[in-house]
């Protein structure tokens, strides 16, 4: 008997190429076994459920539902209230609106657009620092530090504290990506300590920003007095942690998956080198082809929901396998082909509906700058191992290392 699709998805052996499993899974668009989650793998059904008000994201609802192998283990031990990712309207809407106020339109339409110069500088600095072109790890030297630095600048973390911030981010990231050989107690403690220290650091910074606000996002969040009132310190900490984790873990994978895909598709890499504007369709196609978030767990039905003839009972947990929907041949022609010239590309890579990726515009710009500069500056880049070693995490899927050699690095 073949192992269940659920276990196959979670099985680390399949991390490098989960797509054949998804293809198999799509034969049963709504898959369910035992007391596990209902796994939905086809495009239209996923899209429908992402817009379905009978589906809750509220962590308090989720906690009451049966066994979900991807439920966050440390949910209870975190003293913070749930972030808007784990809330339903109206609380979700209120917190997301307040977080958006200093981040995007209508109140801050130039925040992200205004970061273009800074993004370019960070990318330039990181590529300058690569050092030995004969052998380097794109993850450690580029994809990892890049988004953390961007979030530090966005939140207004003082430059002298950025190194500490990186350390905490790494520890938290490691806890999201458990190494089975490490001692689980040690690992849990490391992440717990990092969360505590980060929380205390941010709490201190928030106090400081309340007294002396700057034009950074944390100052704006700490001092906001809009129609939705202001955030409590706890809400603010929870939100900052969400921005850090969600903005970091996803972008690492988007950039690394991107470079990996381009190295496997040298024609596209060549075209990007010749015309940086191709980065725009390349990033959209990447979000379809190798999405940084493979699936959305932790959603729960508030009512019986019928999907493709299957009744998902009230109170069931759902997995929406975005990466599978993105490869659904009923939606996309030649779905397993990486094709930046694809004209029909409404991918699920950043989700859809009210929980669609908050940082999407920033992630797009980050990936566009990163990939176009890497393409332009790395001379004759080659993969040193294919497939590369992957992170453990089945949800936030991406290479742990991407070892590359090139002939040199252009100015």
């Amino acid at each position: 008997m073949t192992p269940s699709p659920l276990h196959q998805i979670l099985d680390y052996a399949n991390r490098a190429d989960p797509y054949p499993i998804y293809e198999e899974l799509r034969r049963t668009p709504v898959h369910h076994e035992g007391d596990g989650p209902y796994v939905v793998s086809t495009y239209h059904e996923i899209l429908g459920l992402l817009h379905d008000p009978r589906v809750s994201s509220d962590s308090r609802t989720v906690a009451r539902t049966p066994h979900d192998p991807l439920a966050e283990p440390d949910q209870q031990e975190s003293a913070l209230p749930p972030s808007f990712l784990r809330l339903d309207p109206p609380e979700h809407d209120r917190l997301r609106r307040m977080t958006n106020r200093p981040f995007g339109p209508p109140h801050s339409p130039h925040r992200v657009d205004g970061m273009r110069g800074e993004l370019r500088d960070i990318v330039t600095g990181l590529i300058d620092g690569i050092g030995d072109p004969d052998r380097f790890d794109l993850v450690d030297q580029f994809s990892y530090p890049f988004p953390v630095t961007v979030i530090c600048r966005l939140l207004g973390i003082p430059r002298e504290d950025e190194a500490r911030f990186h350390t905490w981010a790494d520890a938290i990231a490691a806890s999201l990506d458990p190494d089975p050989d490490a001692d689980p107690a040690e690992r849990g403690k490391g992440a717990h300590d990092a969360r505590m220290q980060l929380g205390m650091y941010l709490a201190g910074l928030i106090e400081e920003r309340r007294r002396n606000p700057g034009d950074d996002m944390l100052s704006a969040l700490a001092t906001a007095q809009g129609e939705d009132g202001s955030m409590t310190t706890m809400e603010l900490l929870s939100t900052a942690a969400l921005l850090l984790i969600a903005g970091h873990e996803t972008t690492v994978n988007l950039v690394t998956n991107g470079m990996l895909t381009l190295l496997r598709n040298p024609g596209s890499l060549q075209r990007l080198r010749a015309d940086h504007r191709l980065a725009v369709p390349i990033v959209e196609e990447l979000l379809r082809f190798e999405p940084p978030v493979q699936l959305v767990p932790q959603r729960v039905t508030l009512a019986d929901v019928e999907v493709r003839g299957v009744t998902i009972p009230k109170g069931s947990s759902l997995w929406l396998v975005l990466a599978s929907g993105n490869r659904d041949p009923r939606r996309f022609e030649n779905p397993d082909r990486f094709d930046p010239d694809r004209r029909d590309i409404q991918h699920l890579g950043l989700g859809s509906g009210i929980h669609s990726c908050f940082g999407a515009p920033l992630a797009r710009l980050e990936a566009q700058f990163a990939l176009s500069e890497l393409a332009r500056r790395l001379e004759n880049p080659r993969l040193l191992e294919d497939p590369p070693p992957y992170r453990r995490n089945a949800v936030l899927r991406g290479p742990r290392h991407l070892r590359i050699a090139c002939d040199g690095i252009r100015a």
Binding site: R97, G104, P105, P106, P109, H110, V112, D113, R277, V280, P281, E284, I345, Q346, L350, S352, S356, A360, P361, R364, L365, Q368
Partner: protein, 83 residues
Amino acid sequence: MPRIAVDLNRCQGYAQCAFLAPEVFALHGDEALLYDPEPDEGQREKLAQAAAACPVQAVLVDAVDSVDSVDSVAAAAGAVSDR
């Protein structure tokens, strides 16, 4: 000059366009979108980013390079071919 229209039936207010090309697209309140239908030539690159980023592909940018030059005065006087 680029020309654009947004199919606001499709639009769900993800505002990617307003983030990426704020001189052309603006949110009015939480969700309502305003845009400049014929923005300046200099916006073309950002427009391409905005249109590509729209999750519901609602931003229509002209696909025709040389739009028929219809001179309305001449047109009023008679037939004008666009070739």
